[in-house]
């Protein structure tokens, strides 16, 4: 497509210079174009055995277009798995449909590129697909002391008095909600901040279910609103993020590697404890339901949701969209981030090696938290996600032993579609009996 586009641009420029714009349009119309549509024969891109696709080509040129259509299947780490090609000839003002079947692949997720190379058009269409993903298992276990590591972290947190400071912000109230700024002390005595919004109600006995909103990477979370009369929303800014940068205030790329050489000082250990402290706060409030807490977030927020729900059983519903840092040892060759920043960090510390980093990150691997989840858990993933690849997210999902549901977005990257939020809302309301 780029090739054809470039040709057209050059042509347009030349003709514009020679003959004027009106004549350019006439020439462009005369030339025509080739367009393609790639359709996987599965609504979510998942196949039980043979993957199959249809590649449709439409040619509006007067002349026939000859050339080839080829595909290349690779693993998520870009290792070639399968390739093939066919010769094609698409008649002038005609079209063609070409079916491809790819049998015999092992369980897992694969990238597939379809290339068309004809006389006036070159293009590559990228998709991904999965083969029997429920059979995907990690080749790496979790540390034997994983649970005691986090138990110890919680014991340390318990020693820190929260010293909750709650300030109502009347000027910020809207959507019939009161807004409170909340400050509290977390692990290492750091002050973290969040915002609680509560529906205004005449019912003095009313207790609200709580949505605990967890932030994405370096995202500042302010108060969240909405018209739901049953839900209070508590958004938390973890240490070093948003409104909780009093002590830790580092550059964006430095955050994920902060103190990575020591698992007991690593930034995410404190960040997860900040989320547990947020649950402590919710459970300190008499107007909030302590048995109806949903932890929800996307990306790093998805990771935090899984991690916090795993180690804090007071959370009764876990929602994690595109959770990062799952099956970390298998991520190394699959994704650029955060390993670009990690490799840079290792270079600055002579005693630090990638193996030591991975040993530490085992304690922060989302899949290792997943096996301890006990509440209903919803996971969302994009099939072409370059940050939370499907192999790794599915490894996390397969490890969950409690009621779970996964929504796959076949054509999305590091994002989810509206249907995820719809399903999440419905399942949460059913779980909390908010009929």
């Amino acid at each position: 497509m780029i090739n054809a586009f470039t040709k057209n641009i050059v042509l347009v420029c030349c003709l514009f210079a020679l003959s004027g714009l009106q004549q350019v349009f006439a020439q462009d119309e005369k030339n025509g174009e080739v367009t393609t549509v790639l359709t996987p024969h599965s609504s979510d891109g998942i196949f039980s055995s043979t993957a199959s696709f249809t590649f449709a080509v439409n040619n509006t040129y007067k002349n026939a277009e000859s050339g080839k259509i080829s595909y290349l299947v690779t693993t998520e780490a870009n290792k070639k798995v399968r390739a093939d090609s066919i010769r094609v000839k698409i008649a002038g003002n005609g079209s063609g449909r070409y079916d491809f079947e790819i049998p015999g692949l092992k369980p897992g997720f694969y990238k597939i590129n379809f290339m068309i190379n004809v006389a006036d058009y070159d293009d590559t269409t990228r998709k991904a697909f999965g083969i029997r993903p429920t059979e995907i298992l990690s080749t790496h276990g979790k540390p034997a002391d994983f649970e005691s590591f986090w138990h110890q972290a919680k014991l340390e947190l318990d020693k820190i008095k929260p010293e909750y400071k709650i300030t109502e912000l009347p000027d910020s109230a809207k959507d019939n909600r009161r807004v409170f700024k909340v400050e509290m002390k977390s692990l290492d005595g750091l002050v973290i901040r969040g915002f609680l919004t509560e529906p205004v109600t005449k019912n003095k006995n009313k207790k609200f279910a709580v949505l605990l909103g967890l932030p994405g990477y370096q995202v500042t979370l302010g108060p969240m609103f909405g018209t739901d009369p049953d839900i209070a929303i508590f958004t938390i800014n973890i240490r070093g993020s948003g409104y909780s940068r009093d002590v830790i205030n580092v550059r964006r790329e430095s955050y994920i590697v902060l103190n990575l050489e020591d698992k007991n000082r690593y930034i995410l250990r404190g960040a997860v404890m900040d989320c547990v402290r947020a649950v402590d706060f919710i459970c300190s409030r008499p107007e909030l339901r302590h048995d109806n807490i949903i932890a929800a977030g996307g990306s790093l927020g998805g990771f935090l949701s899984v991690a916090t729900s795993s180690i804090d059983k007071r959370i009764s519903f876990c929602s994690a969209a595109n959770p990062i840092l799952s099956d970390i040892r298998n991520l190394v060759n699959e994704v650029d981030w955060p390993f670009i920043d990690i490799r840079q960090y290792i270079k600055t510390r002579p005693d630090l090696t990638m193996e030591k980093v991975l040993d530490n990150l085992d304690y922060f691997d989302a899949k290792n938290f997943a096996t301890n989840l006990e509440c209903p858990t919803l996971i969302g993933m994009g099939l072409v996600d370059p940050i939370a690849p499907p192999n790794n997210v599915y490894t996390l999902y397969n490890g969950i032993r409690c009621p779970k549901h996964l929504i796959i977005f076949r054509d999305l990257g590091h994002e989810i579609g509206k249907s995820y939020n719809v399903y999440e809302g419905r399942w949460m309301r059913d779980t909390f009996a908010l009929f």
């Binding site: 994405g216 981030w337 949460m428």
Partner: protein, 287 residues
């Protein structure tokens, strides 16, 4: 990383927007009842018939310009006991009148059949379609008054199926239920199949105004094939199908009003009824 930031903000907005979607339809469907929620619905109804279908389904006017009217008041209540169980009860009072030309008008009035039951939330499909099962006990609140009812205790088992879905910015819902009811005592039953199907549509995003259409019917079988009155609950061997339209308005989250008008479309051994009703719904949350 900009993508991460943008995504997360978007995701939260979507969460908050979408979890507000909820059902606000009239009671007695397959939807579960929120624990701690008390729904009270006082209603008044008017029934009129000046003709009947005979036992073969042939329509004919009552002799001597006869006409039946019945004005009723019903107190309906349901309470969510837990996530799965809800208690339901209804107590109707009626004032019946039958008049003919040149004949003294006959009247009767009183409490009729008290219905008390337990509804169980059976299952759902993707949290969109809900199934419930309800067991109901029927207790007559009168003695030997055929114009008020059979005067027999009974039981009913009803399966209900409900669902909702957005249509553009609006919401649609449906309720479908079928119950088998048996009256005890004696050998002439009756045994009945009672069914209804409702399709409703909100007229605004806030669900303040809604309209619905209902098709309902009763098939009642008994060895007693006599015609007592135009009122369906007085005959034992009869059938009818009724169509009705409703308009509902929510004054607040707690208070709604439903206006309903209906017409009997076809039947056997019962009156050709025209009905109107006005129902208030109060929702009170106790948790």
């Amino acid at each position: 990383m900009r993508l991460l930031k943008t995504f997360t903000k978007t995701a939260f907005l979507a969460i908050i927007f979408l979890i507000t979607s909820k059902n606000n339809s009239f009671a007695d469907g397959g939807f579960p009842v929120r624990p701690g929620r008390l729904l009270i619905s006082p209603s008044v109804s008017y029934f009129f018939a000046n003709s009947q279908w005979d036992s073969t389904g042939v329509k004919r006017p009552f002799a001597n310009g006869g006409k039946y009217t019945s004005i009723g008041g019903t107190l309906y209540a349901e309470y969510g006991i837990s996530r799965r169980f809800a208690a339901v009860a209804s107590l109707p009072f009626v004032y019946n009148q039958y008049s003919q030309n040149n004949t003294k008008t006959a009247t009767s009035s009183g409490l009729t059949d008290l219905e008390t039951g337990i509804r169980y939330y059976l299952a759902n499909i993707d949290f969109i379609y809900y199934f419930s099962l309800q067991g109901t006990a029927i207790t007559p609140m009168y003695n030997n008054n055929a114009s008020l009812g059979y005067g027999k205790e009974g039981g009913e088992l009803k399966l209900a199926f409900s669902g909702s879905a957005p249509i553009g910015n609006l919401s649609a819902y449906f309720n479908a239920a079928d119950g088998v009811r048996q009256y005890f005592g004696g050998n002439n039953g009756p045994i009945q199949n009672r069914w209804n199907a409702t399709f409703g549509l909100s007229l605004d995003e806030e669900f303040e105004n809604q309209v619905s259409a209902t098709l309902s019917g009763i098939n009642s079988w008994s060895t007693d094939k006599s015609f007592v009155s135009a009122l369906p609950e007085t005959n034992k061997n009869f059938s009818f199908i009724q169509a009705s339209l409703s308009y509902g308005h929510s004054f607040s989250h707690e208070i709604s009003l439903f206006l309903t008008g209906g017409e009997f479309l076809t039947g056997k051994n019962t009156g050709v009824g025209t009905t109107f009703s006005l129902a208030f719904i109060y929702r009170l949350d106790y948790r």
